[in-house]
Symmetry: C2
Subunit: 432 residues, 2 copies
Amino acid sequence: MGSERRSIGIGLLGLGVVGAGVARILQEKAAVYARQIGYPLEIRRVLVRDPKKPRDVAVDPALITTNVREILEDPGVEMVIEVMGGEQPAYGYLLEALQAGKFVVTANKEVMAKHGAELLATARQRNVDLLYEASVGGGIPIIAPLKRDLLANDILSVTAIINGTTNYILTAMSRGVGSFDEVLADAQRLGYAESDPTNDVEGIDASYKLSILATLAFHMDVHPEHVYREGITKLAERDFAYARELGYAIKLLAIARKRDGAVELRVHPTLVPQDALLANVDGVLNAVEIEGDLMSRVLFQGPGAGSLPTTSAVVADALDAAVSISNSVYWPHSFRREAGLRVVPIDDVRSRYYLRLRVADQPGVLARIAGVLADARISIASVIQRELEGDGTAELVMMTHEAPEADLRRALDGMRALEGVDAVETMLRVRP
Amino acid sequence: MGSERRSIGIGLLGLGVVGAGVARILQEKAAVYARQIGYPLEIRRVLVRDPKKPRDVAVDPALITTNVREILEDPGVEMVIEVMGGEQPAYGYLLEALQAGKFVVTANKEVMAKHGAELLATARQRNVDLLYEASVGGGIPIIAPLKRDLLANDILSVTAIINGTTNYILTAMSRGVGSFDEVLADAQRLGYAESDPTNDVEGIDASYKLSILATLAFHMDVHPEHVYREGITKLAERDFAYARELGYAIKLLAIARKRDGAVELRVHPTLVPQDALLANVDGVLNAVEIEGDLMSRVLFQGPGAGSLPTTSAVVADALDAAVSISNSVYWPHSFRREAGLRVVPIDDVRSRYYLRLRVADQPGVLARIAGVLADARISIASVIQRELEGDGTAELVMMTHEAPEADLRRALDGMRALEGVDAVETMLRVRP
């Protein structure tokens, strides 16, 4: 458009909670943004599924369309902002927008986790940018600082609480509010959990976000299926009490960690020492800790979801893209791929472990269990044994020293086969 | 230099701990950085005071100079990295470098706090960038994210622990390690405090950093003398015990806060609720909490000092500048000034207060003190009274509800004049 430019044309895909927030903020702050960028940002078209649905934002009805072609094929749309969510049709639209040479801003973690590498490569080929700050950590600036710090640092690890629903549930359980099912029902009533909570409580959402962060941090194509994943549905209230007694909180951590030229990728409930900052990130808050060879450990913490924080991240990206568009220049961050980086199988991950077993309250059981651990060359750090409600069973909680997971699993099989061991109720890893 | 470019020429001012770190990292990571930027970063000259001093970094002796003209007048030096510290001569060198059209990276908080507005204006005129990430918060990325988030958000407040020395001392005192003087002596032995600790313990260093953050956050020229400042030298160990009993930690907070079109700017020891994240930032760590109208509260936490973290911030800035230089383009962030923003005098700041008084252990004293507070229309939230070592005196600790500071100061004068009041030992504000 060059010297005849009058504004920067935007096509908005989606007008749900975040889409309405973006439309409203672009209107409310239009004058400020225009002064900062040099041109006004102009929404030229808004794609919706149902144009009749009442919305809590005043968008000129003439802008509303149900036909995505009116956006993808309009040369006046230089930037597409996607806030529809879900893999399809969003993925197809974004790919096409990039191929058409449009800048893209997206909040879509599923698309970025599954197709990020391809979309970023397409953006590079077309010399446009694909920005996705809102896909991880809501209002927390994490993608942009990570890109920048990456330039100077080798990233050694990313450790994150990146799912607000599960952090809300774990925080409530740790405060004795109730069982998993009870707290989940509360969260659903309050709108913190969806009616089908699978994506959150099974760690799927966290594995998407970890894939996005690890792809960026380690210069490798990480897909959600590379991430070892365990959810929080099997945790019992008593695990939180024992963890506290031992000096730990239980958090659903997403961990990506370089070790000997390979990368650990895992999402699972984890014991975190009470004095660690991540142990004190409670409720729906998110936090991401980045460890670099120069910068040491830096923590970013804030609201991981919500309309306004997510809107903030989307608008910051849109303004970034607008600067590139208005200057007709864009410098692509280096997307070098590190050859030879492989994913560590969970069997080879070394960790300390928390174990809770239900055993017969009789002599010799502890000795036999200790023997099984010794055979697997796993040493015990501490033991708590408690009688249960006089039914002849006891509860045994053990913390081990570090061992490879394969050895621990073999030992657990051995314990289950022992006389006097009713069940291995819980196995949790301790934060590295 | 255009198409004939072969490298990006750097002049390094200073080869102390951070300077040596920068020189070493630019050597060690030369190949990675060259791949990312497209050109190698080449140190062409290093300014030192004493060329004979032994250094723990291998810099080609031919690059060492004691004559700053060899850097400022060399057209091959496109970027000046300043890591000398101190106001002069650094300020003069930076101004001249910018006037000569060189990009500048600095870690100098004193220069940025006192002359930042002038230097940034000079950079804009010459169409170059002045980057200063390392001047606040060491390795924590805070300036760059703040610039970016500023685009989308109105910043409402900045609340920070930005001096590692004082945070180390306060953390140790809260753990009962000893008195201020004892803990300071420890910190000096460990290298966490300088032999003349004035700049740190009186909050001067924190006021520099707050000036830099507030200038950026509120689009106004904040100078250190605008910042109300109290140090930590008068805190007693018993204050930490009382604070804990009342549910608070004591932290030296730097606070910049917009209120009714004016800005509060203050550095002072502050009671922070124990469950707030800032209360749990211990030791030499730094943390900055930014509150925006969209993004809500986001916390950045990490190592506030140290050679490698500071080097990380300087090198990240240098790479940013290199990208601009190699693309021959630079987009200046908006430096709009908000007219009419004024600084709130400390007398008008409203706060809750913690008071500790030494009083005669006799009937009627508490009633007279409560009367003085009532006359100033300050209401009491809680009271602890303790007998002291049988010498006929008692200690009275009170928490008040919110009141303007002028009213509280009048009440304190009234108390000091009361019969039975020996001394007002401590007055602390509570975090807003």
